[in-house]
């Protein structure tokens, strides 16, 4: 299952990358592949902008505009400035 194409803000600076592999460990959607001690984005559209990779990269080679990927969270954000995500109710995220 994938959402829209070509909207994701994830960026990787391949020059900086030291190939530690942490991004690929934390990513829930197999966006990265590590080949010869370098990370590559192999499935950009699968990214849900959770921010895990960028937050864990030890040398800041990754950037992503992370935030709640849900409509009511965004609506709440517009209405009262706090992007509380509806995912509070989600049973899937244990």
């Amino acid at each position: 299952m994938k959402h829209l194409k070509n909207v994701v803000t994830l960026k990787l600076d391949e020059e900086k990358c030291i190939g530690c592999g942490l991004c690929s460990t934390v990513c829930p959607h197999e966006v990265f592949s590590i080949v010869d001690k370098k990370a590559y984005i192999i499935d950009l559209d699968a990214c849900m902008e959770c921010g895990a990779c960028a937050g864990n990269c030890p040398i800041g080679a990754l950037s992503v505009d992370s935030g709640v990927g849900c409509a009511s969270g965004i609506i709440n954000g517009l209405l009262n400035g706090s992007g509380e995500c509806c995912c509070d109710k989600g049973g899937t995220c244990a």
Binding site: M1, K2, H3, L4, K5, V7, V8, T9, L22, T25, V26, C27, P28, H29, E30, A46, C47, M48, E49, C50, G51, A52, G55, N56, P58, D65, S66, G67, V68, G69, C70, A71, S72, G73, I74, I75, C85, C86, C87, D88, K89, G90, G91, T92, C93, A94
Partner: protein, 351 residues
């Protein structure tokens, strides 16, 4: 949450799932059972139906599982009882420590998004529990879904403990431990299976019940206007239609999600809404006049599409950029459809 009034050190309240204590260099640590009781299961069922969902918490701190030694692994968890129950249940037969963070009773994934499950709280809990005096190693097993809130390099720098990301699902933990802290790609992946989707349907329906009721009342009242005066004869009809749309948006869309064409959720909702329109329309259930019929069709489609769009929040694969883009286009259209539908129903009644 806590009714403990003693001055520190404040012993955690005794809970039914505690089975005893283990002695450690820094004092007693409560042991927790790894079998869920009927009471735990009932509690889980209640939150599945969104009852008391916001205060299903446990006391943050350190707990023991089995008969842990200083070499035993440390598992980090949230203080949402359901997350905690998943973990202790999966750890049956294992000896280990469980470090429960204060995530305000919110599950790991959502708390990580908010940052309450994060670097600062891990560092803080490590210091508070003095776990460095209890275990001889310097490793924390953090659930992978907590990673958006955690920076492994920062935790190491600030607490001296290295972070090992465990599998996404707690039930894979025994395999992860057996493989010496290695997770397979499969264990690292978040999916959204039929079972996951069925599990969220009750909550989905409960969450939208109030809005559906409000809409049904409003439309029931408006559909009573006619040339010959006011009557509530159409009210039951309005209720049935709104709640059919509610059931379709809250249950049918999640159930069929991967098989509905289109990537955008609002479009998925649109297709399902149109199907509903066709089914009810061909059974002549949408009203007597063509105008009323058209009006109700638009209402059904906009309700189902809007609920589908909101299902992005429960789904596990949509990005903020994607949802924003979708909303910008979909919400105005849904609003126009809903308003035109309402106007048509009123006009249909007046003619």
């Amino acid at each position: 949450m806590t009714d403990c009034c003693c001055k520190k050190p404040c012993a955690p309240k005794r809970e039914p799932w505690m089975t005893g204590d283990v002695e450690t260099p820094v004092g007693k640590v409560p042991t927790i059972g790894t079998r869920l009781t009927l009471r735990d299961e009932l509690g889980a069922l209640k939150v599945r139906f969104a009852i008391g969902r916001n205060n299903y918490t446990i006391e943050p701190g350190l707990y023991a599982i089995g008969e842990p030694t200083p070499e035993s692994p440390v598992f980090v968890s949230a203080n949402y009882k359901l997350s905690f129950d998943h973990l202790r249940c999966a750890l049956g037969g294992t000896d280990g420590w469980v470090l429960v963070l204060d995530t305000k009773g919110i599950n790991v994934w959502c708390a990580a998004g908010k940052g309450t499950f994060g670097t600062a709280e891990i560092v803080n809990r490590v210091q508070q529990t003095k776990i460095d005096q209890i275990v001889s190693h310097r490793k924390l097993i953090v659930p992978q879904l907590g990673a958006p809130g955690v920076s492994a390099p920062e935790v190491a720098k600030q607490s001296g403990f290295g972070v090992l990301y465990g599998p996404v699902r707690a039930e894979d933990l025994p395999k992860f431990l057996a493989a010496e802290f290695k997770a397979t790609p499969e264990m690292r992946r978040v999916r959204f299976t039929l079972r996951d989707r069925i599990a969220v349907i009750p909550v989905e329906l409960v969450i939208w019940f109030k809005q559906a009721l409000g809409l049904a009342i409003a439309l029931a009242l408006l559909s009573g206007i006619s040339r010959n005066g006011y009557s509530l004869a159409n009210a039951p009809h309005a209720f049935v239609l709104v709640f059919t749309a509610w059931l379709t948006g809250g249950a049918v869309v999640p159930l069929l999600l991967p098989w509905i064409p289109a990537r955008a959720f609002s479009l998925k909702g649109l297709w399902v809404g149109l199907m509903l329109w066709i089914v009810l329309g061909s059974a002549n259930l949408l009203g007597a006049s063509p105008l009323t019929e058209l009006g109700w069709g638009l209402i059904l489609v906009s309700v189902v599409s809007f609920m589908a769009l909101n299902f992005t929040g429960t789904s596990t694969y949509t990005s903020m950029s994607g949802v924003k883009k979708e909303m910008k286009i979909a919400i105005p259209i849904q609003l126009i459809a809903a308003i035109s539908g309402t106007v048509l129903i009123i006009i249909g009644g007046l003619r």
